[in-house]
């Protein structure tokens, strides 16, 4: 019943760039063709070394159906593993012109064994092309790299740099140290040199830290907001360590961490920077300027103020050119392009958020 309506909307011109789509392996063995024999053997014998309490469990608590839309389970494999279903359920009816793949697990960013992490990284990047981008050219891969091995990460980024099917570089915002730390700087230098944004998606696998600064949460509702504070910590680290000063061409996309908090955080940082900047003399400009110049935010899960129009004010403070639409398909809390805004953006505002900002950032035609 919904489908005909959706096709009408898509043909009416509401095409979108979806900045957060999660692919999945049908089985872990899907990676085998892309792994050297030595690491296939390792994976089969020892498995991955995820830093979480219970091996083989979800790394996060989830409300329903493993965090997925109940209707997104294919006949075989987990949600996101069946390209045909992704096309018929999401890409086609929602008028997706380009979709950014967010591959978070088994890409090495969570793996302590750095040699295995490097093998996983290469494999997952090949796999994204073969399983999704080649058969569906609307999709764009991310260069997934293990941030804890910056030297390898740089080599993998450079190896993929000429292939524009890789739109950005994925590292985990839940890294061993806050991401502004100098151990990660070679990755930012490579990103700047290769003209790719750094994509930081919340709930990337843990670097061994609890998801909140005060320990593990009890309920999923708590965990959901830990993503927001985690993003704030990451952003303040990038600002005050001087990453944006050191890499003036660096672009960072903060994905699924909310955005309404960004203006308030920037105000606070500016206020304290004015008074205490002797501590960080390398931070030469008000923090809000770095955020405004270097950061992009995705929309899902969008904030819904009691007075819907207040969100337009907040977006205005961030910049209408800095917010990019995302669905988070196939997760249960995905945002639907036709229902996401509870206020009426102008046509120009809609085009920017649904499509043009992402096209400009990622160099899409």
């Amino acid at each position: 019943m919904n489908v005909p309506l959706r096709h009408a909307a898509a043909s009416a011109g509401l095409t979108i760039v979806d900045c957060d789509i999660h692919p999945a392996y049908r089985t872990p063995q899907d990676l085998h063709p892309f792994l050297p024999a030595r690491w296939r053997e390792h994976m089969t014998t020892f498995g991955e070394h995820l830093r979480q309490g219970l091996s083989g469990q979800l790394a996060w608590p989830r409300m329903m159906a493993a965090g997925m839309r109940l209707d997104s389970f294919p006949e075989q494999g987990p949600p996101g593993s069946d390209l045909k279903l992704m096309q018929t359920q999401h890409l086609d009816p929602n008028g997706v012109e380009y979709g950014m793949l967010m591959q978070l697990s088994r890409g090495g960013m969570e793996e302590r064994n750095l040699d295995f992490a490097a093998a996983l990284s290469g494999a997952v990047n090949d796999w994204q092309l073969e399983a999704f981008v080649k058969p569906e050219p609307r999709l764009r891969a991310g260069i997934v790299v293990p941030q804890e091995d910056a030297a390898f990460a740089v080599s993998e980024i450079e190896r993929r740099a000429d292939d524009r099917r890789f739109a950005q570089i994925l590292i985990s915002p839940r890294s061993s140290d806050p991401l502004g730390h100098r151990r990660y700087w070679p990755i930012y230098e490579a990103a700047q040199r290769c003209d790719r944004p750094i994509a930081l998606h919340v709930q990337g696998f843990s670097g061994g830290h609890a998801s909140t600064p005060s320990g593990w949460p009890t309920y999923y509702l708590q965990e959901h907001y830990a993503a927001t504070t985690g993003m704030q910590n990451t952003l303040t680290s990038l600002v005050f360590e001087g990453v944006f000063e050191r890499f003036p061409g660096l672009k960072v996309v903060l994905i699924e961490g909310g955005f309404a908090w960004a203006p308030a955080l920037a105000w606070r940082m500016d206020k304290h920077w004015e008074r205490m900047r002797q501590e960080v003399p390398h931070v030469k400009r008000p923090p809000s300027e770095y955020v405004r110049e270097h950061c992009w935010f995705t929309t899902q899960p969008i904030e819904e103020p009691e007075t819907p129009a207040h969100l337009a004010d907040i977006i205005g403070w961030i910049g209408w050119d800095r917010l990019m639409f995302s669905t988070d398909y196939p997760h249960w809390d995905f945002d639907d392009p036709q229902h996401v805004f509870k206020f009426q953006p102008t046509e120009e505002q809609k085009q920017k958020i649904f499509r043009d900002n992402a096209k400009a950032l990622y160099g899409l035609q």
């Binding site: 019943m1 919904n2 309506l5 409300m63 329903m64 159906a65 839309r69 109940l70 209707d71 249960w332 809390d333 995905f334 639907d336 036709q338 229902h339």
Partner: protein, 143 residues
């Protein structure tokens, strides 16, 4: 169109067992039929929140609590949870649990009628053969 022509036989009553649901198409509309212990209800298969296929969701209870450490299940199997965003609706009324004041799933009148009655009347559209021995579910699109 007279009121009676909006009615349509959609299933044998015995086809929708207690505690289960079935989605049928009536004049191009997808409608979910629910059997709550022998009482039948019908809701549009479209979530008023974001348009999801509501009636393909799980049939659940309400979890209620008097305070931390205490909980109980109430109104077991009387709520429908949308498969997309998890909004819950009272199957009996279509009322939203998340936003009861302004959100309601579209409800249709549904009745159980004996086949013997249906074969007499010329005003009810049939989607499959009706026999006099059985009971049938009739949805009224105007209801």
């Amino acid at each position: 169109m007279t009121r009676r022509e909006t009615r349509q036989v959609v299933a044998r009553a015995s086809d929708v067992k207690p505690g289960t649901a079935r989605v049928v198409t009536v004049k191009g509309r997808d409608i979910g039929i629910f059997n709550l212990d022998g009482e039948f209800f019908a809701l549009a298969n479209r979530c008023p929140h974001a348009g999801g296929p509501l009636c393909q969701g799980r049939i659940v209870a309400l979890v209620q609590s008097d305070g931390p450490g205490h909980y109980r299940l109430a109104r077991q199997q009387e709520f429908l949870r949308c498969p997309w965003h998890g909004w819950e609706f009272d199957i009996r009324t279509g009322q939203s649990w998340c936003d009861p004041n302004s959100t309601r799933a579209r409800q249709f009148a549904i009745t159980v009628e004996p086949g013997a009655q249906l074969v007499k009347g010329p005003y009810v559209a049939e989607t499959f053969p009706v026999s006099v021995e059985e009971d049938y579910l009739v949805i009224d699109l105007a209801g």
